[in-house]
């Protein structure tokens, strides 16, 4: 069987493999250096009976990779254009005339207005980061020196992944050597486990012993947009209909609960009627738990404000961006119709949504995609006011929507949630305060260790540059 050695780990892969089965390096387009004796590249696979559904295992070819199957199946060439293109590139490279464009050589998405009329293959963008497989586009022919330089750059990158921590900053060479694995196996990041263990121990220690004292100042910094979000909720009339898009699940609840709970508390404090739905399977259950905690928090200082069950469960909506516009044009159709969940009174409230729209929409999202989806698919249809409560990392990505007025407010991250809590007119329990302080302490130590790691990394870089 023909094999192609991985340039990264040296593993012999099947010739038609796109990725190294050992380390995952992209090997499509590599020249096959070795052909095992006694086997042909076109050798038919004897496991025809098993090709129906057996997934390709490590070291064996899947059914779609067999040349004989590919040539006999008319659908094959249509369904595997990328593979065919990659094989074409392999042939070109073997002649020394083709050029495989790596990510660093990614070209523009379109080359002029004329590009509109060129056939598009979105898979090529996914696979290579450029339109490298387009036959009609005039591709730049990279000189071999440039190709070699690119390959050299990739090797450098791999070496960085596999490198040891700097010896110049005090590490003992013997210890480093003892934990080192062969440098060509490519899992350098995993070998950094002790750096990760230091981070974990630092955070755990901070949680246990080094929580800071109660902050005397203004608490966490409120990034721009929080004040507007608070004002939007604060000016709600009692019984206003608020649509809540719960776009996170337990995976990100560790952070998002800290942002979502204060806003839900505030909405309940204003006696808004919440209609909560989610497009994630774990979303509705997560929402139930956070809302229950928010209600429990509120009942201590302001029990009289909670008049009745203010929450309607809208449940789970599959379909992604294709179905969510339904909430803009016909919310009563999108939200549940099962009478065992939603009583008659609540169904009337949902029907009101279709006539007047929600007084406010709150998108609680761990990904920027979910905020953008709402602003693209629903807001243009119902024109409603939207505020977003997001993960910290989402903040910069959705800020243009805040500036353009599509978002009326933005709260993000642990710091946003903490700043929002301080605006709520209620006393925090001892446990809440202790947990918040623990979190602050852990974050302090985590970021401190990370900054030290960054400094070490830069020192290592400088040392490497000086060492010939």
């Amino acid at each position: 069987m023909a094999t192609s050695d991985c340039p990264h780990c040296g593993y012999g892969n099947p010739i038609s493999a796109q990725f190294c089965v050992q380390c995952g390096t992209i090997i499509a387009g590599q020249k096959p250096p070795s052909v095992s004796s006694g086997e042909s590249a076109n050798e038919p696979d004897a496991r025809d009976d098993d090709q129906e559904s057996a997934p390709p295992l490590n070291g064996e070819e899947g059914p779609e990779q067999q040349p004989s199957t590919a040539s006999s199946d008319p659908d094959f060439s249509e369904s595997r254009p990328q593979l065919a293109a990659a094989e074409d590139e392999t042939d070109e490279d073997s002649d020394g005339q083709g050029a495989v464009r790596g990510p660093s050589q990614a070209g523009p998405l379109l080359r002029g207005i004329g590009g509109l009329l060129e056939p598009a293959d979105p898979l090529s963008y996914i696979m290579s980061g450029s339109g490298a497989n387009e036959p009609t586009v005039d591709r730049p022919i990279a000189p071999s020196a440039e190709l070699a330089a690119d390959e050299e750059e990739r090797r450098d990158l791999r070496r960085l992944f596999s490198e040891e921590l700097p010896t110049a900053v005090g590490a003992v060479p013997e210890i480093v050597a003892s934990v080192a694995e062969p440098s060509q196996n490519g899992d350098g990041l995993q070998r950094r486990f002790w750096l990760e263990v230091i981070l974990l121990l630092g955070m755990a220690g901070a949680l246990l012993w080094w929580a800071p004292g109660p902050p005397g100042g203004a608490g966490p910094h409120a990034l721009p947009g929080l004040q507007q979000a608070h004002r939007q909720v604060d000016t709600l009339q009692p019984n206003s209909l608020v649509l809540v898009n719960w776009a996170y699940d337990p995976a990100t609840a560790g952070e998002m609960d800290l942002v979502a709970q204060p806003i839900v508390e505030h909405l309940l404090q204003r006696q808004a009627k919440l209609i909560v739905f989610s497009q994630l399977p774990g979303g509705p259950a997560t929402a139930r738990r956070v809302i229950a905690r928010a209600e429990a928090s509120l009942q201590r200082p302001s029990r009289t404000q909670i008049t009745a069950n203010l929450v309607i469960e809208g449940g789970y909506l599959p379909g992604g961006s294709a179905s969510i516009p339904l909430l803009g044009v016909a919310p009563a159709r999108a939200l549940p119709v099962d009478p065992t969940w939603v009583d008659l009174r609540e169904r009337f409230r949902i029907a009101e949504l279709g006539e007047a729209g929600p007084a406010l929409t709150v998108v609680i999202a761990a990904r920027a995609e979910d905020v953008r989806r709402w602003l693209e698919q629903v807001q243009p249809l119902n024109g409603g006011t939207v505020i977003a409560a997001t993960s910290a990392v989402v903040d910069p990505s959705v800020r243009p929507y805040l500036h353009s007025g599509q978002l009326a407010g933005l709260v993000s991250g642990w710091d946003g949630g903490g700043a929002y809590v301080r605006r709520l007119e209620r006393a925090r329990s001892v446990e809440e305060q202790a947990r918040s302080l623990r979190h602050a302490g852990g974050l302090n130590w985590g970021v401190g260790i990370l900054i030290v790691a960054v400094l070490l990394g830069n020192l290592a870089g400088l040392t490497e540059r000086r060492t010939p």
Binding site: Q51, E52, A106, G107, P108, R111, G112, D138, P140, Q190, F193, V197, L200, M203, L207, L208, T252, A253, G254, E255, D257, P281, G282, P284, R288, R289, A292, G315, Y316, P318, S321, A322, V337, D338, W341, R372, L375, E376, P380, S391, A392, V393, V394, P396, S397, P400, Y401, H403, S404, Q406, S412, G413, W414, D415, R438, H439, G442, L443, G446, L450
Partner: protein
């Protein structure tokens, strides 16, 4: 354990606590290495997740929205209204086609044309409808929700929510320059403004570009234009780098919060549970 499963017997509560702790530790052991335990935890998680999703989709979507109304009036197809046809019967037909055709596609192709082949072909119809809806909402959403509002905001003459003590025209100009620079960078890459990379055929490195750009244009003008283009792209690129740094810092805040939350669960929530207290008291030799 949340109050939502409080109705179960106490032993189940304890079992849930232990199971949660075990799954957490098994999956968390991945940090040391991809071991048997880590795999075990992942498979249990995936199995439970798939099962939960099946129940959710059936009980929350397909049953109440489609099957319950149809079963409530199974003979409705005899006198079905247009609304009922469109909202119930046609989606049912499309869904059955999707299921039948999809499951058929997972099997080996039939040797001879027949019913199975037809089923395979008909499975393309619901997929095409779904694809068409996705395409339609993607295009119209991009125009209505991002392109038009963001372009309007970028060139808006009205004052934005800027600080009052700063000249707003300057900020607006800077904003416009950066946005344009980023777009140039995304289209042309870091070689914008380089010789042979004229605006008429930005990605091309063939000789057509310089010839077309320089044919009827004074060389000085072209040089200045390319220099300005390069400068503009450079501004956009640097703004993107700055944004990348800020996004990384926010990513650290987000992901560290997740890690801290898990550590808090292991170090504080578990030890506070009744079961742990009981075990701890037994270990110390005292009663509960």
């Amino acid at each position: 354990m949340s109050p939502f499963s409080n109705g179960l017997p106490g032993v189940m509560q304890d079992a849930g606590l232990i199971l949660g702790l075990a799954v957490s530790l098994m999956i968390g052991s991945y940090i040391v290495r991809d071991s048997f335990l880590a795999r075990l935890g992942q498979y249990v998680l995936v199995g439970a997740g798939l099962g939960y999703t099946v129940v959710l989709v059936w009980r929350n979507v397909l049953w109440p929205r489609l099957f319950a109304p149809l079963i409530a009036d199974p003979m409705s197809w005899q006198s079905v209204s247009v609304t009922g046809l469109l909202n119930l019967w046609l989606p049912l037909l499309l869904g059955v086609l999707m299921w039948g055709g999809g499951l058929e596609l997972l099997r080996r192709p039939p040797a001879r044309p027949g019913g199975r082949s037809l089923l395979r072909l008909l499975a393309a119809v619901p997929a095409a409808i779904l694809g068409g809806v996705v395409l339609g909402v993607a295009v119209s959403g991009a125009v209505q929700g991002t392109l038009w509002p963001q372009l309007s905001a970028a060139v808006a003459t009205a004052d934005g929510p800027g600080r009052a003590d700063q000249p707003t025209w300057l900020i607006r100009f800077l904003t416009l320059i950066i946005t344009g620079g980023v777009l140039i960078h995304l289209q042309l890459g870091p070689n914008a403004g380089a010789a042979g990379n004229g605006p008429s055929s930005p990605g091309s490195t063939s000789s057509e570009g310089p010839r077309a750009a320089g044919a009827g244009r004074p060389k000085l003008f072209r040089t200045v234009f390319l220099m300005l283009l390069r400068l503009w792209e450079g501004i956009g690129r640097r703004a993107l780098w700055l944004a990348a740094g800020i996004i990384f810092a926010r990513l650290v805040a987000a992901r560290f919060s997740l890690t801290l939350s898990r550590l808090d669960y292991l170090l504080f929530e578990i030890p506070r549970s009744d079961l742990w207290q009981l075990v701890w008291a037994s270990l110390r030799g005292g009663g509960p």
